[in-house]
Every structure is written in C-alpha cells, then in structure tokens.
C-alpha cells in the first residue's frame, strides 16, 4: 500500500538526514557538537555516537519488523489467522535483550559521568568564575585579578575549572565545541571543567531560558597558545593607547564618563581594580533592586579594552564602528529588551545624545585596546 511505502521512504530519509548530519561538521556550524576541540566534548560526542549507533540498530530492527509485517501479513482472505496469545519464552527474551543493551550503554555512560564531572586537580588548572547576568556574561580570573565580559580568553592545552554562578535568574554556560552545558543558578555554585586542544575562536551560548533577551545572550571563547595567553593577560594589565587631547576619542571619553560610567567600568587594567569592580558590580545590582522599574543603574559588562573585543552586544555582532554606533544609538536595533536600553538615562530622559556624540563615544570605545594587541590575529577572520 502506498502509505507504507511512503513511510518506508520517510524513515530512510530521517535516517539519512541524521547520518548525513553527523558527517557534515563544517566550520559553518559554529555550535556543532560534533566538531569537538577538547576532551570533554570529545567524550560527550563519543558517548552520543555510541548510543546513537546502538539506537540505530534497534531502530532498524523495529522499523524493519514493521515494514516486514505490513507487507507480509496483509489481509488476503477472510480466514482468521492462528490465534496466538503469547509466548513466555519469546517475551522473556525481549525483556532480557534490551536489558543487556541497557547495560552495554550504561557502563561507558557511568564512566563518562565521573570522567567529565569530577574536577581535575586545581594545581595544574586555571580557575575562572563565570557569572550570568540578564543578559550578559561576566568572567573573572581570581588568580590573575582580571575581569572581562562576554569574551573568555583561555590558554590551549590547559585544564580550566569554571565556577559557575548567576546573579539573577537561571542561565546556562555552554561552549558546544568544548564542553556540554552547566546551568548558572543563583545561590548555588556549580562547577565545570574542560580543556581546549586547539587555538581558535569558539561560540558560547546561554542555553537556559532567561527572559526576553535569552536568544541574544552569547559569548565568545578565544583560545590562545600559551604564549598568546600570557600576552593577553599582559595586555589586560596595561593601560590602553593614549589618546590625544581634543580628538574625537577624547570627547568620547568625557561623554563616556558622564553617561556610561555609572554602569560600565572601563579601567580595570589598573592595579587593585579587581576588587573594586567586583564591589561596584554588586552595588549596581543592589541599586537596581531598589527600584527595578526606574533605576538608572544596573549591572553591566566591564568594557576594559573593549576595542580588542571580537564582538559587541553579548556576542551578537562583529565589533566594528558601525555596529558600536548602532548599539549606542539604540540597543534595540540589535537586541530587543536589554537592560541598557531600558535603564540608561540617555534613552529614558532628555539627556539624549546627538549623532556626533555617539560617534565620538564609539571611536573612544574602539580605541580602548592595549598596545600589544593580542587580538589582532583573531580580528582578521
């Protein structure tokens, strides 16, 4: 009958689609979980594939049986078929076989759980604190005393332990090519570890529904060679290029101090800035809580060396002049619903910025980068 053939075709297509999908792990798929670059995602992928192929076998058995049955046992005449009520032996068989399959799947799975979830030695790992905010990521390097936002820099071949927290609602910390996700939960500190085998830029993504901007809450992970990483650390501790008095950038700086600095810090390269930033971030949060509707202050990404970042707007847009201007002009044109748009007084009072002022701020922000711009090599791509 037609319908059966169509179902047959469709089952095949589904199967093909899946296997096809498994094979095509091209760079156009920046969040593919098959294009792995570290041991954790590797274990996860292998476990998945292992289970998947077992599932495919079961699938073929079941669907094959369906197809066989539907062709073989069509009604041909009015005779009643043999009335079989059951067969204990058969039934026990097909209780035991799945049980065996389950055991086969379970063994590597349990090993996988402990392998991926037990933290490695802290001695030879770097520890990072990742904090989820509505709707951006804060990254802190407690041992290096560095803070950054929406862009995580890591050395290659080094274990990374991430302490994962959230300030407001649930978020999830996920870098598909490096490691599966772990949720960011207020009042709980979760942990995740992974290692990146190859330098490169990886996509990170908030995976737990966290409100209106959830779709736009992303970040980038930049994995350096060991040398490049030291370079970057160094850069994060040096002041940005000096700007000449009276230039657009200088005007922009003044405007930034007047309009933006209540929420954004951009001088965390300074000594002892780390604790100051942590405190002020906390105070901003408290400030927002006092008057959630109208507060002019909210926790906001640290903008130190913003010019060296790859993206603007939490990993959404490439970090270039047009996009920064667009963002400052109206964040909603890139990401609808941000706290910046809803609370910054430049949008909600008559302190509107002129086009020129916006351009000056953009230029200033983009000029914020250390002399030894470790990002230069990545900016090319």
């Amino acid at each position: 009958m037609l319908s059966n053939r169509i179902r047959l075709i469709f089952n095949m297509v589904t199967l093909m689609l899946l296997s096809f999908a498994l094979m095509s792990c091209t760079p156009e798929n920046p969040q593919s979980t098959f294009d792995t670059h570290g041991p954790i995602s590797e274990i996860q992928k292998n476990l998945f594939l292992f289970t998947f192929w077992i599932a495919v076998i079961v699938f073929i058995v079941v669907e094959g049986a369906i197809i066989f049955v539907t062709f073989k046992y069509r009604r041909k005449n009015d005779d009643l078929p043999a009335q079989i009520h059951g067969n204990l032996r058969l039934e026990i068989t097909w209780t035991i076989i799945p049980a065996i399959i389950i055991v086969i799947i379970a063994i590597p799975t349990v090993f996988g759980i402990w392998e991926t979830q037990v933290m490695p030695d802290e001695e030879d790992a770097i520890t990072i604190n990742a904090v989820g905010h509505q709707w951006w990521f804060e990254f802190k390097y407690p041992s290096e005393e560095i803070v950054t936002a929406n862009e995580l820099h890591l050395p290659q071949d080094k274990n990374v332990i991430v302490n994962i927290e959230s300030q407001d609602v649930l978020h999830s910390f996920w870098i598909p090519k490096l490691a599966g996700k772990v949720d960011m939960v207020p009042n709980h500190e979760n942990k995740l570890w992974f290692r990146a085998d190859n330098p490169g830029v990886y996509y990170g993504q908030c995976a737990e529904f966290c409100g209106i901007v959830h779709a736009m809450m992303r970040f980038r992970v930049v994995v350096h060679t060991e040398e490049g990483y030291q370079n970057w650390l160094e850069g994060m501790r040096t002041p940005p290029k000096t700007i000449s008095n009276g230039s657009d950038e200088d005007e922009g700086r003044k405007l930034f101090v007047g309009n933006c600095s209540m929420c954004h810090t951009n001088d965390s390269y300074k000594k002892a800035a780390y604790h100051k930033e942590i405190n002020s971030q906390y105070n901003r949060w408290e400030e927002w809580k006092k008057d959630k509707e109208n507060s002019a202050i909210v926790s906001a990404p640290n903008l130190t060396h913003f010019g060296s970042r790859l993206t603007v707007a939490s990993g959404i847009k490439e970090n270039n002049y047009e996009n920064v201007v667009k963002w400052i002009e109206n964040p909603d044109s890139i990401t609808i619903g941000t706290r910046m748009k809803n609370h910054a007084s430049i949008y909600n009072s008559d302190k509107k910025l002129t086009d020129q002022e916006i351009q000056q701020i953009a230029k200033y922000l983009l000029s914020l980068k250390p002399d030894n711009d470790s990002m230069a090599s990545y900016n090319q791509e």
Binding site: L2, S3, T14, L17, L18, L22, T26, E28, N29, P30, S32, T33, L47, F48, T51, A55, F59, V62, V69, T70, Y73, R74, R75, K76, P81, A82, H85, G86, L90, E91, W94, T95, A99, I105, A106, V110, G112, I113, W114, Q117, V118, D168, S172, W174, P176, G180, K181, D183, P186, N187, H188, E208, F209, G211, V213, H214, K289, I316, I336, G337
Partner: protein, 630 residues
C-alpha cells in the same frame, strides 16, 4: 461530598429548577451522562488543539528564516509557553479524558462511571480552567516563563505582571479537574466492572486508564503544591523561590519534574492503551502477551516516579545523583520495549487490514520508537549536557508526544468514531490525512534532531545567519504547515462524513471488546443487559465461540449479534437525573482563582458559588423522588 440518602431527604431551596429535558443546551449543561461528557471533553480539547497548533505555526513562521522579525521576542516567549502548556494540559490530557469517559464504562460493562456528577464537575472545571488560563491573552499578559515556569525567571521579581499568575492558577484549577477525574476512574474501574470482568480480563485500554488515573491522582497534587507556592510568591510575597531570601530555584525544578515525569507517562499510557485495542482488531489476532503488556504498563507507571532528575542533568546535582538517575531512566526502556515487541508480535502472523485507525497505530509504533530511542540518548547524561535545552530535546518530545500520543489519539478517533456518532468517517480522506500527517510530522521534527546537535538552543526567537540552521528550520516550518493541512483534512472529513452519513453498525470493525456489542451510538443506558464476562476480549469469543476450542480456520461468520434495543422498556432502567451543581462549582472555582489576581470580591463570589454548589449537590437526590420517565 457524600449524599445523604436517608429516608427524609433534606434539600436546600433550588434557585434554578433541576433540568429535566433531554435535549437542548440545558441538557448539555446539566448532563451527567459519561458519553455526553466525553463528547464535550473531546470538542473542547480539539478546539485547544487547533489553538495550540496555531501558536506552534506562528513559532514556525518566525523561525523559518534566520533573523526573522515577524514576531517580537515578548510574543514569542508567550507563544511557546502557551503552546507547550496548551498541548500538554488542554489537549493531550483532556483528549485522553474524552476517551476515558466514552470508553471505560462501555468497556467494563457499566451503565456509567461511579460518580456521574463528579465526572461532570471534572469537565466543567477543565473547561473553565482552560478559559481562565487563556483569558491572559486578552489582558495582554500571556504567560511567558516556559511550560515548566522555572523560577527565578517566573517570580514576581523578574517577571512582573499577571502572566505567570494566570498560568499557575490555571494549572491549579486544571489540576482539580484532573484529580477528580482520576479518582472517579479509579473507583469506576475497581468497582463497576460487569460480573466476571476480573482485573485480568479488562481491555488493555481500561488497564492503561487505571494506571494513568493512579498517576494523575498522585502526581497532580505535587503540581498543585508547586502552584500554591508560586502563587504565594507572586501574589502574597512569600519566599519559596525568592533567591534573595534563600529560596532555591533548584527546589522548584525538583517538584516540577517530580510531577513532570509521571506526567509524561500520563500523556502516553492512554495512547498505548488505544493502540493495544486497535492492533488486535485489525490483525484479527489477540493481543500478544496481554499480561506482559499490562504489567509493563504498571512498571512504567511505577518507575516513572524515580527518574525525574533526568530533566536536571545540567543543574549541578553532581555525578552521584546523575549516575543514579541515568540508570533509573535507562531502565524504563525495558518495559517500554516489551510493549513495542509485543505489539509487533501481535501483528506478526496476523491478517492485517489497513484502515486509517490501523495506519495511525502502526505509525505510532514507528514514531514512538524513534522518540523513545532519542530519549535513551538523553538518558546518557554526559552527552545530554550537550543536548539539554536544545532542539534535540524538542525533537525527542515531539516524537513521543505527537508521534506517540497524538498519533494514537487520531487512530482512536478513527477507530471509535462510528461508536461515538453512529456513522463512519471517510476512509479515503482518512488515509490521506494519515499520509500527509506522517510526511509533515517527519519533515517538521526529524530535522530538529540535527538542529539540536548542531547547537541550536530551544526557546530562542531568532538565530544568526551564519549558524547553518536555516535549511532545517525551513523544512520544519513546511512540515508544520503540512501537519496543519492534515488536521484540516480531518476536520473536513468530519463534516463530509456527517453529511453523507454512512451509518455504522454496532460492530463495524469486527472488534473484540464489550463496547462493540451494543448499537452505535450506544443508547444512553449503554447495555440492555449487563453482560456476563467470561474471557479477555469477551465479545470476540461470543462471536467466535469455536475459537475457544482452537479451530480458527472454519470460522466465517459471527455467532453473536449486537444487542437489540428496539423493544427495551426504558422506564425500567434508571439513570441519574441531570444536575446543574457541577457546573456551578466549576464556574465558582475559576471565578475564585481569577479573584486571586484581581480582587477579593471575586474570590468571595467564587467561593460562595462553590459552597452553595457543594451543599446543593450533596443534598440533591440522585433521582428526583417522584416517579418520572426519560
């Protein structure tokens, strides 16, 4: 509440006269007939199916291309929240309830359920609860916290407005309806069986209803408590989920999934029951391994309680807990597999007729297996860390929910339609319906596996161009519209068949269970003679008694005929009279719930209505004392 059946009847004064007529709107409002109630359940939840479907289609339209901006993020969040909630609580559960209502008394040989008025109460509470929840669309604040409403995102601190309050209150009201129905069916199935109908002679659908009812009765109170706590937080300022006071968001997740996982078996077990009725009928063979199927259903129902944390593999429960829940989750594959293989064995060696109902049932096995297998890949918790909250999960649960529950429900509709209405549905349109739905379904949801593995998170209203997700999403959207088209064919089929009225005999499919031994549609008293049951599939063996001696080949024609109702003296058969009180209680409950949002005055009015309804109900005699006839 109990009714006082003492010699002198105490009654409160009636404001409205007790409805007595047997037609018209008043009859439908006051009916306590399980068949009418089933029909109303069916119609209302089918309406919500279309609403939920339209919400889904809007989602699909928005996602059809990268960086689409047809739908705003606010609306999108409302759409998927209400889509999920609608489909789970207003579609699959009540559609199953429609089948319970229609079939359970017929299958066990009873005149009605154990508590007809309680049954009416379930219906009305469900209807008004569903309206209550959807009123939020008109106040402009539809719920937007996802169908599992994780706090803190759903707390008043982060989600001001009434949307999520509507959601929790709606769920609580619906919970009352479900629990009442569950209790009713437990008692009905235990106590109302016809003579000789032992538990192990009950049809599998009845068995699955029984297990489902137990699950409902145990699981819904948990959701109720979660709802009360959430309402407390949102309306009265308690601190259960307020993280600033030490409240723990993980705690909500535990209770929600403590309810939520049994809930998914509440959704699928009735479907499995339906399929277990259809397959043997059209294969003309008994169900293979009845005992195994029944017990595996019970085991699924039991084990379903101990797996809930598989929805929480990524919240940091730690490897010990993850190991435990990985293992318990995987174990469920075993009893489920038993069912699958037993169904296949039922078909094996049968004489299969491909009616629409049969096609849907076979489609169910095929699609549910896919969904179940992807469920097992989820259970592998390390790799689930990559899949959790991605479209891979969306694919999994649509395969089990749509490919499972909805397919079986459509199969059931085609199968029992003649019994419900007395006329046949058009089979050719039916087969067309099946084919298009099958194509559309796979086109819609198969690519989602790939999307998820390619890193597409769920609940995002848009995605960037360079992610490589466009083609699959477009396919999914096309598939979504194909599904809608197939549903449209079903609706057209209903109307066409209604006009052409190809009348159905009492037993059009040569089926097996008791409901087919009476005329179609059944008379309101169901059975003229309460049947005496001697076997599983009693009707089948009444028709083919020689099968009991094990000589199938000679059998050509049925030996028993459908019950003749032409000369029944109906005055001898007493059925309960109509009652308005369930309706009042149902309205009252919803008004009271609405009042929690808007004003205490409404709460008071609602509660008065409930109170009055209860008193009236419990003092109202089942039958008016003076002798009167239908």
């Amino acid at each position: 509440m109990s009714s006082i059946l003492g010699p002198k009847q105490f009654q409160i004064p009636r404001i409205f006269p007790r409805p007595m007529s047997h037609s018209g709107i008043w009859y439908w409002l006051g009916t306590v007939d399980h068949k009418k109630i089933g029909t109303m359940y069916g119609i209302v939840s089918f309406f919500w199916f279309i609403m939920g479907g339209i919400e889904a289609l809007l989602i699909r339209v928005q996602l059809s291309q990268a960086e689409n901006d047809i739908i705003s993020p606010e609306l999108y969040n409302q759409l998927f929240t209400m889509h999920g909630t609608t489909m789970v609580f207003l579609v699959v559960m009540p559609l199953s309830a429609a089948f319970f209502n229609w079939l359970i008394p017929l299958q066990i040989g009873a005149r009605d359920v154990a508590f007809p008025r309680l049954n009416a109460l379930s219906l009305w509470v469900f209807i008004f609860g569903s309206i209550l929840m959807n009123i939020s669309w008109f106040t402009g604040e539809a719920p937007n916290g996802g169908w599992f409403g994780y706090p803190p995102n759903s707390t008043i601190q982060f989600n001001p407005g009434n949307g999520m309050t509507f959601w929790v209150l709606g769920l609580n009201v619906l919970g009352v309806a479900s629990i009442a129905a569950g209790l009713n069916f437990i008692v009905t199935i235990i106590n109302m069986r016809a003579p000789g109908m032992t538990m192990m002679r009950m049809p599998v659908f009845t068995w699955m209803t029984f297990i489902t009812s137990i699950l409902i009765v145990l699981a819904l109170p948990i959701l109720g408590v979660a709802g009360i706590q959430m309402t407390g937080d949102r309306v009265y300022g308690t601190n259960f989920f307020n993280s600033e006071a030490g409240g723990d968001p993980i705690f909500w997740q535990h209770i929600f999934w403590l309810f939520g996982h049994p809930e998914v078996y509440i959704l699928i077990l009735p479907a499995m029951g339906i399929v277990s009725e259809i397959l043997p009928t059209f294969a003309r063979k008994p169900l293979f391994g009845y005992t195994f199927i029944v017990f595996s259903g019970a085991i699924i129902g039991f084990m379903g309680w101990f797996v809930w944390s598989h929805h929480m593999f990524t919240v940091g429960l730690g490897p010990a807990a993850n190991t435990a829940f990985t293992l318990s989750t995987m174990l469920i594959a075993i009893p489920t597999g038993v069912k699958i293989f037993n169904w296949l064995a039922t078909l094996w060696g049968g004489s299969i007729k491909f009616t629409t109902a049969m096609l849907f049932s076979i489609g169910f096995i095929a699609m549910f297996t896919i969904g179940g297998l992807s469920g097992v890949t989820h259970a592998v918790s390390p790799s689930d860390a990559q899949q959790q909250d991605t479209y891979y999960v969306v694919a999994h649960f649509h395969y089990v929910l749509f490919g499972g529950a909805i397919f079986a429900i459509f199969g059931g509709l085609y199968f029992w339609w003649p019994k419900f209405t007395g006329y046949m549905l058009n089979e050719r349109l039916g087969i067309l319906n099946f084919i298009i739905m099958m194509i559309g379904f796979n086109l819609q949801f198969a690519p989602m596996h790939w999307l998820g593995l390619d890193g597409m998170p769920r609940r995002i209203y848009t995605y960037a161009e360079n992610m490589g997700w466009e083609l699959s999403n477009l396919a999914a959207t096309v598939g979504g519209f194909l599904i809608a088209f197939s549903v449209l064919i079903f609706i057209i089929n209903v109307f066409i068949s209604r006009r052409n009225k190809k009348l159905a005999s009492g037993d059009p499919w040569d089926a097996r269970t008791l409901e087919w031994s009476i005329s179609s549609p059944p008379p309101h008293y169901n059975f003229v003679n309460i049947p005496q049951v001697e076997h599983i599939d009693d009707w089948w063996y009444k028709k083919y008694p020689e099968l009991l001696e094990g000589s199938p080949k000679q059998t050509k024609s049925a030996k028993a005929t459908v019950e003749d109702t032409s000369n029944v003296d109906e005055s001898k058969i007493h059925l309960p009279d109509l009652s308005y009180y369930p309706l009042f209680v149902g309205i009252g409950l919803s008004i009271a719930a609405l009042g929690v949002i808007y004003s205490y005055a409404l709460v008071t009015i609602g509660l008065i209505l409930v109170f009055w309804g209860c008193i009236g109900w419990s003092t109202e005699p089942v039958n008016e004392p003076h002798e009167k006839h239908h």
